[in-house]
Symmetry: C2
Subunit: 204 residues, 2 copies
Amino acid sequence: MPDPTRRSERSRHAILTAAHELVGEVGYRKLTIEAIAARAGVGKQTIYRWWPSKGAVVLDAMLATVSDPADLALPDTGDVDADLRGVVHAIVAELADPTLSGTSRALMIEIQEDPGLAESMVERILGPNLAAIADRLRAAQDAGQLRRDLDLSVAVEMIVGPLYHRWLLRTAPLTPAYADTVTDLALRALAPDRLAPHGEDRLE
Amino acid sequence: MPDPTRRSERSRHAILTAAHELVGEVGYRKLTIEAIAARAGVGKQTIYRWWPSKGAVVLDAMLATVSDPADLALPDTGDVDADLRGVVHAIVAELADPTLSGTSRALMIEIQEDPGLAESMVERILGPNLAAIADRLRAAQDAGQLRRDLDLSVAVEMIVGPLYHRWLLRTAPLTPAYADTVTDLALRALAPDRLAPHGEDRLE
């Protein structure tokens, strides 16, 4: 007797794989539930039973490619500059990859007009990624390498904001050299005041 | 005898006004050329004769609301901190306005999958706005208030990037307080090294 749970799992996996492939091939706008269903070998109704919208399928397709949240942690070599440079270069590489960036652009589009999807994307993808960077900054703070009075959620967006700005608004190509300059400037903003005695921040 | 040029101008104006109103009312995704034509009192073909796509109409609708490029210039009160704060607060206010932000989100969506439109948006809207900020930073550099070795195009994105990141990725509400913290950090990044003698940057 066929196992319905296993069959569901197989269908779900086939749908997410099809969605991921198709968004890379045809772009989000031309992607249809029909095309996903056809490639996955399931009926359209199977997709609609599990997901409320195209955006929701694509979000899950993206999550399926994301590794364990524990793997998001940045290395802590003691050198916050080097550790941050690793993560910004990884972001640049990811956004240069046609399939990954196709899916990311697709979700960016979708969350502009679907605040519910935006919330779920922030909670499940963006938030954990930004929190991993904030954790590394907190460790650097504890080591006296960064100012103590930082709002870390803002500090993280000082690093990744200029990267996404360039990529999303297409002001210029997003290059590793740009990411390095952004990291240099951000670290200068986050560094303790060099005139301060005993590593304490100077009161201004 | 009716003047065909004046009639064209009137139609063009009616189409852009209709596009601007409708994108604020129904959102970009639900906006159709048919609806724009109906509200403007013209035929669909009139729109297609002048614009290749919905995105192109909306871009022109947005440009029609933008003032003269000369008006983009930031004030120069001699206080770069205050002058930048004026512009970041204006950006926050603009992105909080439902109609303006509806149009901006619409164009953000469209440029994700239409690099030609992106190029024209960068050239006609974004570029002049960023250049106006860069000009103010250059004056501050000349006044010795900012480091001399800055890439001003990156410096500008250190200020506006974190604002658009929060707004586009919906990581948290875009507030004036956030814009102030971003401005504080960016100015700290761009400031000359305080240990440097004679106002020169210290070599590192």
